[in-house]
């Protein structure tokens, strides 16, 4: 049975009709306690079927180690959204509920290769010299979460120093516990600086500065 109903497929097809560059959804599954891996693969394939510019690839995280290493994927299930190049857009878990928007936004941005950010934020990101990992913890039922997630994606598209990991907290409880995630969205920068809530760009910029200081 399809995950996406006809109406959603129609709307997604319309939305993704304007994709410029090809986009690959690179999915990593695992046999170790992955509750929704089957559905994640199915979702990637159903979304990929909505546009000739989209394809889905599936790898076993436990055996395709070199492939996972190439994308710096250290846990599964994971989805890498790759445009003309790998901009650093990752989704860990299944992008369902409100997070379906995050996936579609990521596809659009990876295809276009251009971020939707203000000049000050862009200027800061262009000046980055050290790697920045933004982990955005979300839940599918949180309507505020896509705002934090897509900001991280925009930042990753803007700078090749930034990797944006959107993490579905319920599917990665150990990671969520490690960062004491008890509310979402939560953005964690380089594992040492955090911003609670759907914060505007300048607050994430400040958190990046704090993490790199």
């Amino acid at each position: 049975m399809a995950l996406l109903n006809d109406e959603i497929v129609r709307n997604v097809t319309e939305m993704l009709a304007g994709l410029t560059n090809n986009v690959r959804l690179v999915v990593f599954t695992t046999k170790n306690g992955c509750e929704y891996c089957k559905e994640i693969v199915q979702l990637a394939q159903e979304v990929a079927a909505t546009s000739p510019k989209l394809t889905a690839e599936v790898y076993d995280f436990d055996t395709a180690r070199d492939k996972a290493a190439a994308y710096n994927i250290t846990m599964a299930p994971a989805m890498v959204i790759v445009g003309a190049r790998d901009y650093g857009l990752r989704y860990y878990g299944i992008p369902s509920g409100h997070e379906f928007s995050t996936l579609l936004y990521g596809i659009q941005r990876a295809s276009e290769g251009k971020p939707d950010l203000d000049p000050q934020t862009l200027s800061f990101l262009n000046g980055l010299t050290q790697p920045v990992n933004i982990q955005v913890f979300v839940t599918p039922t949180c309507p505020y979460c896509p705002r934090a997630a897509i900001l991280a994606y925009d930042m990753a598209v803007a700078s090749d120093k930034v990797i944006a990991d959107v993490v579905e907290s319920m599917e990665f409880p150990e990671l969520a516990n490690r960062f004491n995630v008890m509310g979402v969205p939560l953005s964690v920068i380089n594992a040492n600086s955090r911003v609670e809530g759907a914060a505007p760009p300048y607050m994430i910029v400040d958190a990046i500065k704090a993490a790199l200081a």
């Binding site: 509920g97 309507p143 509310g183 979402v184």
Partner: protein, 326 residues
């Protein structure tokens, strides 16, 4: 089992631009209703939303008092239908960009500035920004936000599976959201400041009859305690003056709402709580500027009322634009 909510942000290139007949600030029930009416009427309509479309109603798990849905309906699903209906008639929606300023240039021309640096121009502008949860302003609330303190049970409820939760405020929102948390939590204690609750009777009965809940009145919360995360809530019984610490891993605060009106406070009249005062046609004192839904004064914060507000504003806008055209 899975739901997929389609609320993608259109890229700026997909927005037609130019002067809009109507710019609506806020894509909740009120704003989307105005958009359904105005877009269907052939008026060029833009909606700007700081978060994802749907507003407060979309965070409600089950809406049981909206006519036409005898079995109730999930809030996100209902508001997604509002959205699709507005888009079907051509309304354009931009999400995740917050309006920071409204600048009336002349009658029939109002600029709307966003945090993202965009400026949109509308012949009319509708403020439909709703309200946001009030802070309790006690020690620990700010420190433990995101570490056990939350204002959104829909978002954060699942983090408290088999844990103790305190819900502060036992009005409609507190009880409704608390019932949702009860699906996960080990125990939920409701602390209400008043000696009674104004919540709907059906919600009161559900909470009182729930085996994992305790409902306490006359409780003044004085602090939220914790270490790295929340460990408890301190409350004083207003009758006996006894202080008690309620152990808690999570605290959800529902002590009412305050209007999201600061960005137009210098333009419009507001009541002492900041809600925007309008006439019966939803007009503010600025020609072409309207206010609807929960941000409007004397509005009981009900979905059906917001829908009514949205329709009234749309009809007033039609007349206003006809007059502009002479």
């Amino acid at each position: 089992m899975f739901e997929f909510t389609l609320s993608p942000e259109p890229t700026k290139a997909q927005i037609s631009g130019g002067v809009y007949d109507v710019v609506i600030i806020g894509a909740g029930a009120a704003g989307l209703t105005t958009a359904i009416y105005t877009a269907r009427d052939g008026l060029k309509t833009l909606i700007l939303e700081r978060e994802s479309a749907g507003g407060l109603a979309a965070t409600t798990e089950m809406i049981e008092n909206y006519p036409g849905f005898p079995d109730g309906i999930n809030g996100a699903e209902l508001l997604e239908r509002f959205r699709r209906q507005a888009e079907r008639f051509g309304a354009e929606i931009i999400e995740f960009d917050e309006v920071v300023k409204v600048n009336p240039i002349k009658v029939g021309e109002i600029e709307v500035h966003t945090e993202g640096g965009q400026v949109y121009t509308g012949k009319t502008v509708v403020v439909a920004t709703g309200s946001r949860p009030k802070k309790l302003n006690v020690p620990g609330e700010k420190e433990f936000y995101g570490r056990g303190v939350s204002y959104c049970a829909t978002c954060d409820g699942p983090f408290f599976k088999d844990k103790n939760v305190v819900i502060i405020g036992a009005g409609n929102s507190g009880l409704q959201e608390g019932l949702q948390v009860l699906e996960y939590a080990k125990h939920v204690t409701f602390l209400e400041f008043l000696p009674y609750t104004r919540a709907e009777r059906i919600l009161q009965e559900r909470v009182k009859n729930h085996p994992k809940s305790t409902l306490l009145f006359n409780q003044q919360v004085t602090a939220i305690q914790g270490d790295k995360t929340v460990t408890g809530v301190v409350a004083v019984d207003r009758e006996t003056k006894a202080e008690h610490v309620y152990p808690a891993d999570g605290v959800f605060i529902y002590v009412g709402y305050s209007p999201y009106s600061a960005f137009v406070a210098d333009l419009v009249e507001t009541n002492k709580w900041g809600y925007i005062i309008t006439d019966e046609k939803m007009r503010t004192k600025v020609p072409g500027l309207y206010a609807i839904g929960d941000v409007r004064a004397d509005n009981p914060a009900q979905l059906s009322v917001s829908v009514g507000d949205g329709a009234k504003a749309a009809l007033a806008i039609r007349d206003f634009i006809l007059e502009l055209q002479g």
